[in-house]
Point group: C2
Chain length 330, copies 2
DNA sequence: AATCACGATGGAAAGGGTTGCATAGATTCC
DNA sequence: GGAATCTATGCAACCCTTTCCATCGTGATT
């Protein structure tokens, strides 16, 4: 190294010198499982505080092979859903002395794989938020890493998801209780795990005679706008949208067509985003995002401890009734 | 180290052994400025590719003191404005082989300082997106680090901001051109640098006799909702909101009051968020977010090269006229 | 032909922790 | 009381890369 002003950097050697003990003793005193007397530990901790010591993560990583950081793969941070995942993951990780490398893949599978290959050696494991794309290539790129899937299941890997089936069921029940019989679903992209799951749940809940299937839509808001006319023509009196943005698109176009919501059409969103409460007070199935992210961090850390094979967590979803659904008018 | 399965890890030693040269030669061949023959470099690069070598960042950091990573401080990732900053920063950083540690401070100055203290030794420098809070304590905590302020100026530090003054001026001119005379501004929090700046620009652009100052509002959307009645009572026929969310709040309440937008009131937002085009097609002053973040990364990297003292970049803002503004009706 | 300069390379130390092994001192047990 | 056990500590190797310094060969210069 040499040249650089390494000034100010307090190391365990400084602490050792200050206390007249060896560096190994200091190191042990500073690591949770270390074998040192309570008295020594106390003195070391005191000195560390006094000298404002911070462990050098590069040195520790080099020595232990553990990076103390995790990679988070998200398709698009602009999407508030993923932004919240990032927020939750990052806060939890920070609280257990890990940091989060975020890779925004701009919804490209290509960039996704690239990011994984890029980071695989610099992180201990991955949190993978990749709703789109085929299973096999993803699994292939994750081979050899420790990874937890978030909001998607991938056979063989641990995952944290939410109970989409129950969410759909709750929405259907809610609409039925309001007297609706003919119910539509605007499906999301066929390539999305969550979209497929929601559609399947919908088909299970609503008998063929009563259901209307629309979509799939690619761009959520625009797709919702585009589907509104078909929805009106279908004879359905209520609709469950793939997500909140689709719902917002539907509402916008419906109102432009002179159909009021909820009087003329009941609309249920999915995700429970804040944005869905802004212009329209949207009834929506709330999906835990920060909680899911936190759980995923915990799961990953446990997997890194060698604690587990594939384990999975399914978090509850909850229908939040607001003002975009109303009793059927005859 | 020992125990751990360091398997698979290809090091420069492996390349050296493979080629029958020394590790120093390999290292030099792999660093841009290294003094090696073209032929050697070619062979090393070939071997590196063949063996799938990736440099061990921990070891490199330990040796050079450079972390190849930067810390990004944001108040809240759920806010789409900051999410886009994060996205932009992260993508640019990745393209120049740096990674980004994001710290979401949940709008707390306390957590902000804590994050800075926490990360200061693990990153080469900071990108600080901290619109709120006093100058002095922030400057104090950033002392000894290399930092670039983003969307805020802080004397003595380089910054990347956008031309808020021009943005306000464009909005005012637009409204004047539409015939509006009495113009209101709903100000944002007094503790926000950008809010103060916008308000000052507004006061410069609109003479005291013509202007109506409302606010400040704390919570944007709710604040907008709450200010709508005062706006109506003020006699203003047009309003420039502190940001898009405030504008959305205004529009929502105005419409609930039976005042149509833009016929009964012209509303201009600020920031140009996508969300502002969803329910309402909001006229807004667009602020570059990803570009600002990218520039900030570049600026920081240059500062780390020792290239500069405080330099600052001011990016242009641009009024986007949509459907929430209309000619004054007499 | 001897000297110089220079480009390319190798050797080795350094960077800051962690940890296996050895050791010294204290404690326990028969 | 001596041997065995245990605890707390120190020593030193190791993680992987960078970089200073030394070396060696080659071509240029005088």
């Amino acid at each position: 190294m040499t040249v650089r002003a390494r000034a100010g950097r307090v190391t365990i050697h400084d602490i050792a010198a200050d206390l007249g003990v060896s560096v190994s003793t200091v190191s042990r005193a500073l690591t949770p499982g270390g074998n040192v007397s309570v008295e020594t530990r106390r003195r070391v901790e005191e000195a560390a505080g006094r000298l404002d010591y911070r462990t050098n993560r590069a040195a520790r990583s080099l020595s232990t092979g553990r990076m103390h950081s995790i990679g988070l793969i998200v398709p698009d941070l602009r999407d508030p859903f993923f932004a919240e995942v990032a927020k939750g993951a990052q806060m939890r990780a920070r609280s257990v002395d890990h940091s989060v490398y975020i890779a925004d893949t701009d919804r490209s599978a290509e960039l996704e794989f690239e990011a994984i290959d890029m980071m695989r050696r610099d992180v201990d494991g991955f949190l993978v938020c990749a709703p789109l794309g085929a299973d096999e290539p993803l699994r292939e790129h994750l081979r050899g890493t420790t990874a937890v899937m978030v909001h998607r299941e991938l056979a063989g890997l641990p995952s944290v998801t939410s109970d989409l089936d129950s969410g759909i069921a709750q929405a259907v029940q809610h609409l039925r209780a309001l007297g609706h019989r003919r119910i539509a679903h605007v499906a999301g992209p066929e390539s999305s795990w969550g979209a497929r799951r929601r559609r399947a749940a919908f088909e299970r809940e609503v008998a063929e005679a009563d259901r209307v299937l629309l979509g799939p839509v690619a761009d959520p808001f625009e797709g919702g706008v585009a589907m509104a006319d078909a929805l009106l023509a279908s004879g359905a009196t209520a609709v469950i949208a793939y997500n909140d943005l689709v719902a917002l698109g539907l509402v916008t176009r419906l109102r432009a067509r002179g159909v009021s919501v909820p009087e003329g059409m009941s609309v249920v969103g999915f995700d429970g985003l804040d944005v869905a409460t802004l212009a329209t007070s949207l009834t929506s199935v709330s999906v835990p995002r920060q909680v899911a992210a936190r759980s995923a961090v915990d799961l990953l850390l446990r997997a890194l401890e060698g604690d587990a094979g594939p384990a999975s967590i399914v978090l509850p979803t909850q229908l939040i009734v607001r003002d975009s659904t109303a009793p059927l008018r005859l």
